[in-house]
Each structure stands twice: as C-alpha cells, then as structure tokens.
C-alpha cells in the first residue's frame, strides 16, 4: 500500500488529505454517506432523470431488434457510424479509472487513494456501455456468442487474425479484470459497513458481499500481494485494450486509418477523455457529499495536469497525422487532409481542434486548474472534443475513399441518438446508485495516508 511518508505538502499546494482526521473520523464520514445519510430530493431527481433518459436506450434497442440495423443512419460507404464512435468513446473514458487504480498505485502516487474507488466504478460502468455497441451493431445480435471460440455444430472457429476478434478478447478481459479489481478493493470496506450497521438486513447483505472478511494479518498479506499483482497486470492490459481498439482501424487500408501512430495516440486520447470524466464526476460529488477534505483541490489540480499532458500528446498525434498525410506523397492521404479541413464535415473538425487543442491550453494557468467551475466546463469540452475525434476518424475517413462513385454522407437518425443518449442515462443512473449503496472512497486505503498509520520503530 502507498505509505504516508511520501505525502509531502508543498509550500502552496493543497494537501491530499485535510489535516485533523483520524481512523475513526474517516470511517465515520465515508460509511455514514451509505448508512446514515437520508435520501435527498436532489438524488431522487437526478436518479429519476437518468433513469428516464436510459429508457431511450431500451426503446432504441427494441426498435433495432424489431426492424434491424437499417433504423440507424449507417449505410455503405459509412458502415461504422455512431455505434463504433460511441464504443471507442466509452471505452476510452474507462481507461482513466484503470490508470488511477493501477498505474498510479505502481508509481506510488498516494493521492490516488481517495479517487480510485469511484474512478474504478466509472471504468466498469463505461466499459459496460461500450461493450453494448459492437453487439448491437452485429446485425444479428442474438448470435453474439459466435464471436467466442467454442466447439460448435457448425464446425467453424473465429478468425483469430482479425482485429475485431482481438477486440472481443481485449474488451471482455478488460471488463473482467476491472470488475475483480474493483470488487476485491471493496471487500474490506464492505466488512466495515457490515460491522457498523444495526439493521440486520443491511448487515446480512454486506456480510455476504464481504465474504466474512475479518482483517487478519495473514489475509492482508495475501490481499496486498494479489492487489499489487493485479495492478501490475492491469497496467499493460489498459494499454493493450486501446491499442487493440486502434488496430480495428489501423489494420484497415482506408486513408486516415492506416497509420502506425494510432496505438499511442489512441491510448493518450483515452486517458485524456477519462480524466475529463473523472473531473466531471468528482466535482459535483465532492460538492454534494461534502467530501472536500478527502477529494481536495490537489486532486483536481493533478487530474487537470494529467489532462493537459495527455491533451498535448493528442495534439502531437493530430499534427503528425497531418504531416504524414502530406509527407507520404500519397494522393488519397493528401486528399483526406484536405477533406478534413475543407470537406462537408469541416466545421466538426475545426470544432474538434478547438475543443481538444485550443481551449484546454488555459489549463496552463494555475488559477484555472484550482477553480472547480472552470475545470468542470473544460472537462465537458474535452468529452465533446474526444467524441468528435472518434466521429471524424470513423465517418470522415469512410465517407470519401478511393472511388468518387462510392462517396456518400452519414446522417445519424433519431434512433442513433436515442441509443447514445440512453447509454449516458444508464451510466449516470448506475453512478447515482453506486454513490448511495457502496463506499465511494476507499476507507482502508485513505486510512493508510494518516500519519498515525505508520508503525514507529521501537
């Protein structure tokens, strides 16, 4: 576990954990949000609205299953519309959660201890949204299990040379590992909830989920080993997932897709949008649940700096893409560059550059990085920008390829929008449930940040 010794407080930096807390006060404050806090009207209203928006997904799925994929705006030449755009966007958002929980753990960044829990929940819920899109897009979604290698009466096997099959393995592994990582992180805290409640039903439920955890030193030793190993495994996994997602494009020969820069540039973009989502969630949560002493301005500022850094990597990616279009001397690649800047979707490309490259540069200013309202707005802007980036990659590349006779335009239908908005609703509804039913901040990991958690030499 990250030791408290390296929580140094700089001259003008906000602390990672506000002073004055003890083991008892940390446990009290976080578990009382779940066990004691009454349900407020704001939560009910927020959950209700999200739940209603989620119905768009159910309606959109019903229409899709009854009438077929033609209800969406996809058609040749643009066979990959919103479904793939949303898939890549959602899975990218998930990556920040794994980065916080695994990579920052390995790098001994102790500030992660107060935001890893809900960032992991965010990962799980975002990957769940992402996973739906390729399945809905299958055309015959009821036979989705044909994607998995299993002995079958048809005597066939999946094509393991296809990036789309790699995707199946990458995304399902990512979801599984994220789920177990999140769950074993929860076990000690579920035991705390079990021991703090007077209600026998709540005690039974959390008792069942915590599997009888009793905090034995032997158990902790094995637990710590498993947790560290999982972090070590999740780190290459998260990089591989978006790499494989970028292979979906890069293995194809379409101009704008067939580039070697895609894997690193996709991973950076994923972390960029993921941290934007972390901020979009953390800022209201710490305000409404009054946990500003655990999620301090330091966390916001650090997240903003990661956003700035990954945003610059993304900017480099855009620059290098345009440069290689020109430097390759390939007329189709050159035309793609012209088409992005001046073609029918040019306004969206310019908006993308504004959202992802120009506006976030104000994060260089310290006052903006520590202002939660500005950060919230910039994060929303980055989320929009990163969605546009995937739209540009998918649609603009496909709509005008090698033969002018096969050019076309893509117009999303209302069912495209209903499904997309519905996943936003489902994501928010799950987050609303999560903050009320589970400890949103890891109590045991936060406790290790206290100075008294350190064992003094005899």
């Amino acid at each position: 576990m990250v030791r408290p010794t390296e929580v140094e407080v700089g001259e003008d930096k906000a602390p990672v954990l506000e002073p004055g807390h003890s083991f008892e006060s940390i446990t009290d404050k976080i578990s009382n949000i779940v066990l004691k806090r009454p349900v407020h009207l704001g939560w009910v209203a927020g959950f209700f609205v999200s739940f209603m928006v989620m119905q768009g997904l159910l309606l959109g799925m019903t229409v899709l299953f009854v009438k077929g994929v033609g209800e969406w705006g996809v058609n040749i030449p643009i066979g990959w519309g919103f479904a793939i755009v949303n898939f890549v966007w959602w899975i990218g958002i998930g990556h920040a959660g794994t980065l916080i929980s695994a990579i920052l753990l390995l790098l001994r960044q102790s500030w992660r201890n107060s935001i890893n829990r809900f960032a992991e929940a965010m990962t799980l819920f975002a990957v769940a949204q992402a996973g739906m899109f390729p399945l809905l897009h299958l055309g015959r979604p009821w036979v989705f299990y044909w994607l998995f290698p299993y002995p079958n009466t048809m005597g066939y096997w999946p094509n393991f040379r296809s990036p789309l099959v790699w995707d199946v393995f990458a995304v399902s592994t990512y979801f599984t590992i994220s789920l177990v990582f999140w769950f074993i992180g929860l076990i000690p805290d579920l035991a705390t909830l079990r021991d703090r409640t007077d209600n026998s039903f709540i005690r039974f439920t959390y008792g069942l989920l915590s599997m009888g955890w009793r905090g034995s030193a032997r158990h902790w030793a094995r637990y710590e080993t498993a947790y560290l190993l999982l972090a070590g495994l999740a780190t290459p996994l998260v990089l591989s997932v978006h790499t494989v997602v970028s292979f979906d494009f890069a293995i194809g020969i379409v101009p704008g897709w067939h580039t070697t820069i895609f894997p690193p540039y996709f991973v950076a973009g994923a972390i960029y949008s993921g941290f934007a989502m972390v901020l979009v969630l953390a800022i209201p949560i710490r305000r409404f649940y009054n946990v500003k002493d655990f999620i301090t301005d330091r966390h916001l500022e650090n997240s903003a700096m990661i956003m700035l850094a990954t945003g610059l990597i993304v900017a480099y990616g855009y620059g290098m893409e345009a440069f290689m279009n020109w430097y390759s001397g390939n007329p189709y690649e050159n035309f793609l560059r012209w088409n992005r800047l001046h073609g029918p979707y040019a306004p969206w490309y310019w908006l993308l550059l504004f959202c992802n490259i120009f506006l976030p540069q104000i994060l260089w200013i310290r006052r903006i990085r520590t202002n939660s309202i500005w950060l919230f707005l910039i994060s929303l802007d980055v989320l929009v920008g990163m969605w546009l980036e995937r739209f540009i990659i998918v649609v603009v590349s496909l709509h005008r390829d090698f033969l002018t006779s096969s050019w076309g335009m893509y117009y999303p239908t209302r069912w495209d929008w209903a499904v997309f908005m519905g996943t936003l609703g489902m994501f928010c509804a799950l987050m609303f449930l999560f903050v009320r039913l589970l400890p949103m901040i890891s109590m045991f990991e936060l406790s290790t940040l206290l100075p008294e958690a350190e064992v003094k030499p005899e």
């Binding site: 705390t192 021991d195 009793r214 032997r218 190993l229 045991f444």
Partner: protein
C-alpha cells in the same frame, strides 16, 4: 455443567505501532499460534506474527503461464488442424497475428488466479468465525487493532496468557468462545 470450549484470548490495541510491538513480543515469548487483525494493511504486522511468504504470486504465475500457452495453443490448433483457412495468403500458423489474443488470455488467467488464489488461501468466503463473537471485534474493521492467541497453542493457559497480554498494555482482553 458444560463449559463452552475456548477458541483463544484476544487483546485490543489502539495504534498500529502498539499492535506490531505486541505481536512481536508475543512471538518472542514463544507463542506460535497467533493472529492479528487490523482495519488496513500493516506490512510489519504479518512479519511480526511470523508470516513471511504467501503463495499468491506463484499461483498468479502458474495461471498466467496457463493462459499464455492455452491461448496460443488454441489459436495454433484452430488454424493449423481444426479449421485451416487461407486468409490473405498468410501461413496457417501466422503467429504474429495470434499475439494480441495470447496476451489478453495471459492477463485474464493471471488476474483471475491472483484473485481466486488469494480468496482460497484466505479461506474466504467464511461468513462465520469465532472471533466475531467478541463484541468489541466490530471495531477491527474500523479503527482498532486486535491480537489473538489461539487456545490450540502449546503455551496457552487461561491465567498466564491473560497476564501476559495485560503486560503488553492491551486496552481490553476477552476470551473468545468458539
């Protein structure tokens, strides 16, 4: 009169330093069958009760290797023996194309082995355990630290063990019924 069998003697401490010192002294005094409980991981505590190695890493390694070879062999067998088809003129065993799936299977099997290996070695899930009989023990997952000497220890003796734990500066001491 039938007396209930005793599971052990439990002492409560306030700080991580206290429990680690107490656990160390208990080991040094010759008690072998002991355990300690804390609300968060304390590396020194496992050392103090004489628990130095755990098998989780080995299980994870075995799981990872299983995923590595299983994942690759599945693809090799499918593409060369069971269902060889010519895709873009690639050879049946076009191993570079099998790397992504092999990699993911390695991570999947290693990760699940780490989690389930940890749970199985810990004997979880175990909803009931005698230590839960101590009313104060509910603080073990919150803010207090506990040390237990099991009654199965050769040196266990109701009177002497209690006196020994008192000498360690325990905040409270209770017998744990099994």
């Amino acid at each position: 009169m039938i007396t209930e069998p005793i599971f052990g003697m439990m002492a409560e401490f306030d700080t991580p330093t206290d429990i680690v010192v107490a656990a160390r002294r208990t080991s040094e005094a010759g008690y072998k069958k002991i355990d300690a409980y804390s609300p968060f991981p304390i590396e020194e505590l496992a050392e103090a009760i004489g628990f130095h190695h755990n098998g989780v890493a080995l299980i994870t390694l075995i799981g990872g290797l299983l995923g590595l070879f299983g994942g690759f062999m599945l693809q090799w067998w499918v593409n060369t023996i069971s269902y060889p088809i010519n895709i873009g003129g690639r050879p049946p065993n076009s191993w570079p194309a099998f790397i992504p799936v092999t990699f993911e299977m390695t991570i999947l099997f290693a990760g699940l082995s780490a989690v389930f290996g940890m749970l199985v070695l810990n004997g979880l899930p175990m909803p009931y355990h005698p230590v839960f009989n101590v009313p104060r023990f509910e603080r073990a997952t919150q803010d207090k630290f506990f040390l237990i000497i099991f009654s199965s220890d050769a040196r266990y003796d109701t009177i002497h063990t209690r006196a020994f734990l008192e000498g360690l500066g325990a905040k409270s001491i209770s017998e744990v019924p099994s």
